[in-house]
């Protein structure tokens, strides 16, 4: 047993730091981009004309209605010929992940925005605030506060989904595990260890965001 464990661990350990790093980097990058674009979509949807709203709704529906794997394949194989730029697998992966999470994040934020009392925006405008000030100082802080738990959940979804990057040849945790099974022929042990590693990363991620929630709750005792 002792020796079999070391057989399993050797190929896993060799690239572990780099693989976990790539998994975390891709997820965090995709989430950060998704958050920015999600806010943009939220504001565009709330303030734009009818045509813009319909376009955003179609985008969100497509991203939520098709498998991430198919989106990854589209970003990896189709996008280069459409825009004439060959993306490295990691870039294509982060692109697809972030465009995907943008749709979910914009829906989360929209849900939070809809729970705010309708009069707040109008009241802020009546106090002489400009539109961007209303968003920045009045609406967005409350939207964030209210959407923190679902946003945390979305991050864990993205981190789990980043395992699919292995299918477009990104060297991340799942790729490492897959390669290790080919070397050792011990799939059960290797994938169990990979599952545990994912579990630990995700558990850390949710603890961190619980910490952030707690801090914000202390910073903003007047909200809610």
């Amino acid at each position: 047993m002792e020796s079999s464990l070391s057989i399993v661990l050797r190929p896993l350990m060799a690239g572990l730091v780099q693989a976990v790093g790539t998994t975390v980097f891709a997820s965090v990058a995709a989430f950060a981009i998704g958050l920015l674009l999600g806010i943009a979509l939220l504001v565009v949807r709330a303030t734009g004309g009818k045509a813009v709203k319909v376009l955003v709704a179609i985008y969100v529906s497509f991203m939520r209605g098709t498998p991430l794997l198919v989106q990854l394949l589209l970003a990896f194989y189709v996008l280069p010929s459409l825009i004439g730029i060959q993306l490295v697998p990691l870039a294509a992966g982060i692109l697809a992940l972030s465009l995907n999470t943008t749709a979910y994040i914009s829906e989360i934020l929209r849900g939070a925005l809809s729970t705010l009392p309708r009069g707040q925006g109008a009241a802020a405008r009546a106090l002489g605030m400009r539109a961007h000030q209303v968003w920045w100082h009045v609406l967005l802080p409350q939207v964030f506060h209210r959407s923190l738990p679902p946003l945390t959940n979305e991050f864990t979804v993205i981190l789990k989904a980043s395992s699919l990057l292995s299918l477009i040849a990104v060297d991340e945790l799942s790729t490492l595990a897959r390669n290790a099974t080919l070397q050792t022929d011990l799939p059960l042990q290797v994938f169990l260890i990979a599952a545990i590693i994912y579990f630990v990363i995700l558990w850390c991620a949710s603890s961190i965001s619980r910490g952030i929630e707690y801090r914000i709750a202390k910073l903003l005792p007047h909200v809610n």
């Binding site: 209605g65 198919v70 799942s174 897959r178 059960l188 994938f191 579990f199 995700l202």
Partner: protein
């Protein structure tokens, strides 16, 4: 880049064959998952400590381990334990396992949405615990259950694309076969994406109709 419609027309029958496999595997798995999830929800809400811990541990596993790893574990790991199953069976099993974990969370929230006083009231009217669930609790949870359950069905339906890694001839695998043959990535993957999109939209619409109907029922 122009779109070659001939390829779309040629690919469509193959893709629809794949859709059939996708639908059978994911819908069967989802239905079994509902049963597992309901059982796990009652386990998690029960006062029996081991049952409760087991249910909660199960949910945490599902929430914190990628579906791909679950599929790999089942597909490559189970044969090592002397358990040989077809890709179909593993697809159904993995879907059921994953759906169950998520549905457990949904069902727990729904069970808790029924005020506790109603349970006591029903018991004091002489109902047994099964009757309380059947006539008082469960009917009230439906409208609460529908929206997250519709999202879950769509999620698991889409996640079945991952079964292409075990060469299950579902929609994504079929489109990979087609693109390997024709290199028409845009046409084939685009068509596959549209098929998925259409199905997800149908599930979404069904969920919305059900939600509206059941909300009216309660008033």
């Amino acid at each position: 880049m122009s779109i070659d419609l001939d390829i779309v027309v040629k690919a469509l029958p193959f893709l629809l064959q794949g859709l059939k496999v996708t639908a059978v595997v994911s819908l069967t798995g989802i239905l079994i998952g509902f049963a597992i999830g309901t059982a796990a929800a009652y386990g998690a809400e029960s006062r029996t400590a081991p049952l409760k811990m087991f249910a909660l541990a199960y949910v945490e596993c599902v929430r914190n381990v990628p579906f791909l790893i679950v599929v790999y574990l089942a597909f490559f790991g189970l044969p090592k334990l002397g358990f040989h199953a077809s890709a179909y069976a593993i697809g159904i099993g993995a879907t059921a396992f994953y759906t169950g974990g998520y549905f457990c969370e949904i069902a727990r929230a729904a069970l808790r949405s029924v005020p506790r006083g109603q349970l006591a009231a029903a018991r004091s009217l002489g109902m047994g615990s099964v009757q309380v669930q059947r006539y008082v609790v469960i009917p009230q949870t439906f409208s609460f259950l529908i929206p997250p359950t519709a999202s879950l069905v769509i999620m698991m339906f889409k996640d079945s694309a991952i079964f292409s890694v075990m060469s299950l001839p579902e929609l994504t695998y079929q489109s990979n076969l087609m693109t390997a043959d024709t290199f028409a990535y845009l046409e084939v993957l685009g068509t596959a994406a549209l098929i998925y999109w259409l199905c997800s939209s149908v599930f979404d619409a069904i969920g919305q109709v059900l939600e509206r109907r059941l909300r009216v029922l309660h008033r």
